[in-house]
């Protein structure tokens, strides 16, 4: 199977700081790939390379090769709008806009002039996109009568689901998740994990997590980062039962990190 995302010898500098040191990895489609490692090891930085979000930070220099569906994304002329529609991102803290629930989900489609997949020659309306997106994150039934309410009134878990729905509304293929459960309680965390599990049949998911149990529960592959380097990458069950590298073993057995 061809990889969805292929990264070759990726280096990233923040000013003088060498944050990513020659990372190479191939991420398979319709799988959950977990990225683990101690704080400051470059997990989030790596994730943010995949939709070029590091471009928004001054003083960041990226070298190497990243291709998504065979298309190189790091060159200066890359179409960032198309890239970011295709490669969506869920952030650590739920961050809905201070708008209604409906307007939050409609935000992306409105940006792109409501263009969804054509069905029988007819593009879906904004209402249909919002309903479909909310259904996909299991929020439709509880919120369908509250669409005009402010999104900020929702619980944190609902807010994070809403943020995922907002993302799905622009029809991404890859979902980057940067510790999406770190602001949630354990019960909400499990429910979001179930959602991730459901979504992986349609989306390629890359998730950064601090929580090794979470990585073990939801991912098919796991990558272990340490000090900006990819130490080990492989099937999650193997990484957690018989890691090849000493550093990986130390980290997952909780000896440090």
């Amino acid at each position: 199977m061809n990889p969805k995302i292929s990264v070759k010898n990726l280096h990233l500098h923040y000013g003088d700081f060498h944050a990513l040191k020659g990372v190479s990895i191939e991420i398979r489609p319709c799988r959950v790939t977990a990225i683990i490692g101690p704080s400051g090891c470059g997990k989030s930085t790596f994730l943010r390379c995949l939709n070029r979000m590091n471009d928004t930070i001054e003083g960041v220099k990226t070298e190497g090769l990243i291709t998504i569906d065979g298309e190189e994304i790091l060159h200066t002329g890359a179409d960032l709008i198309r890239l970011r529609k295709k490669v969506g991102m869920v952030f650590q803290r739920p961050n809905p806009f201070p708008l209604s629930i409906f307007e939050n989900v409609a935000f992306g489609p409105k940006l792109h002039g409501v263009s969804g997949p054509k069905k029988g020659g007819r593009a879906p309306s904004l209402e249909e996109i919002v309903e479909k997106s909310l259904r996909a994150v299991n929020l439709w039934d509880e919120l369908k009568d509250l669409l005009k309410d402010s999104a900020l009134r929702l619980s944190l878990e609902q807010q994070q689901r809403l943020c995922i729905a907002r993302l799905l509304a622009v029809n991404p293929e890859v979902l980057l998740m940067d510790e999406p459960c770190s602001a949630l309680d354990p019960v909400a965390t499990l429910r979001i994990e179930e959602l991730i599990h459901e979504m992986k049949k349609d989306y390629t998911i890359v998730i950064v997590t601090h929580n090794m149990q979470q990585a073990a529960r939801i991912s098919g592959e796991t990558a272990y980062f340490y000090l900006g380097e990819l130490i080990e990458f492989g099937r999650t069950d193997r990484i957690f039962t018989s890691p090849e590298k000493k550093e990986t073993e130390d980290y997952i057995t909780g000896r440090f990190g």
């Binding site: 979000m53 001054e58 961050n95 806009f97 402010s150």
Partner: protein, 284 residues
């Protein structure tokens, strides 16, 4: 060195601090009391809506009031778009070196220029060089430039209070930078921008020196017909009837001051209400 009991120094400190705070209130209180006491009797619909008569010793202040409203509107037209667009460029687009620094220093200096210097500048540039004459246009432009620093600064502050995450989410959804500013940042900064703008306008409405050479007329028998006409304005009218025209009744002078103060106060209250309502709504 005598060591004073800390309990006593604490009491002394409290007394001094509280007394100083009280002193801040005294002038505000006195100004309001004096102006209300002598100005309130003059205040009437008649006073607001009629022309001055008998060499401004009787009648109302309608032309001056209207002139000030025109000037405030003109100031808004010139300073708001430039101020907001410039602030957006500086806060959201400009890279942090060279040009941006120069503009920032220029804004700080603009804010420190004495208002009479603005008046002279307006006279030189708009009235004489650009041949607008003493006119609403020249006065509005002068007041507009004077208001720019406040509008730019408050706009930048308002933009700065919008969480970074709003920008990130919008960009991550494939928005361009401008779409992000227009849809995710500006709507959330608008109340702050409005508040700053109204405060800037209320200051402009009360200024005398910048309009002295650029627009204000001693007395006009009719209202301005176009932006190239001179106009009367409340602050200058107050100056005229207080010092230039003999034997004006005290009630007319204080009545005029009261109207000016109420106008400025009303604008400030609108600004405060907008800010308060926004604070309540803001939950992030």
């Amino acid at each position: 060195m005598i060591r004073i009991n800390p309990r006593i120094t604490e009491k002394l400190a409290f007394a001094f601090l509280f007394f100083s705070t009280l002193l801040i209130l005294v002038p505000v209180f006195l100004i309001l009391v004096l102006i209300f006491k002598d100005g309130l009797p003059a205040l009437s619909w008649e006073f607001l809506a009629s022309y001055p008569r008998l060499g401004m010793r009787a009648g109302g202040i309608f032309p001056a009031l209207l002139g000030t409203v025109y000037l405030a509107a003109g100031t808004l037209v010139f300073s708001l778009p430039i101020g907001i667009l410039g602030a957006i460029y500086l806060s959201e687009y400009a890279k942090d070196h060279g040009f941006k620094r120069v503009v920032e220093v220029a804004i700080i200096n603009l804010a420190g220029v004495p208002s009479v210097v603005y008046g002279l500048f307006g006279l030189g540039l708009f009235v004489i060089f650009l041949k607008f004459g003493a006119s609403l246009l020249a006065g509005s432009l002068t007041l507009g430039i004077m208001s720019l620093p406040v509008i730019i600064t408050s706009t930048r502050e308002a933009l700065g209070t919008v969480p970074k995450s709003f920008r990130e989410v919008s960009l991550a959804l494939g928005a361009t930078k401008w779409q992000t500013i227009r849809r995710a940042v500006l709507p959330n900064a608008l109340p702050g921008i409005l508040t700053g703008t109204i405060l800037a306008l209320s200051r402009a409405a009360g200024e005398t020196a910048p309009i002295l050479f650029t627009v204000a007329a001693f007395y006009l028998p009719k209202l301005p017909q176009s932006i190239f006409d001179q106009a009367m304005a409340l602050p200058y009218h107050l100056y005229v009837i207080s010092t230039q025209v003999p034997n004006v009744k005290l009630s007319i002078q204080y009545g005029t001051a009261l109207v000016l103060i109420l106008l400025v106060l009303a604008m400030n209250i609108v600004a405060i209400v907008i800010r308060a309502r926004f604070r309540k709504r803001k939950l992030w």
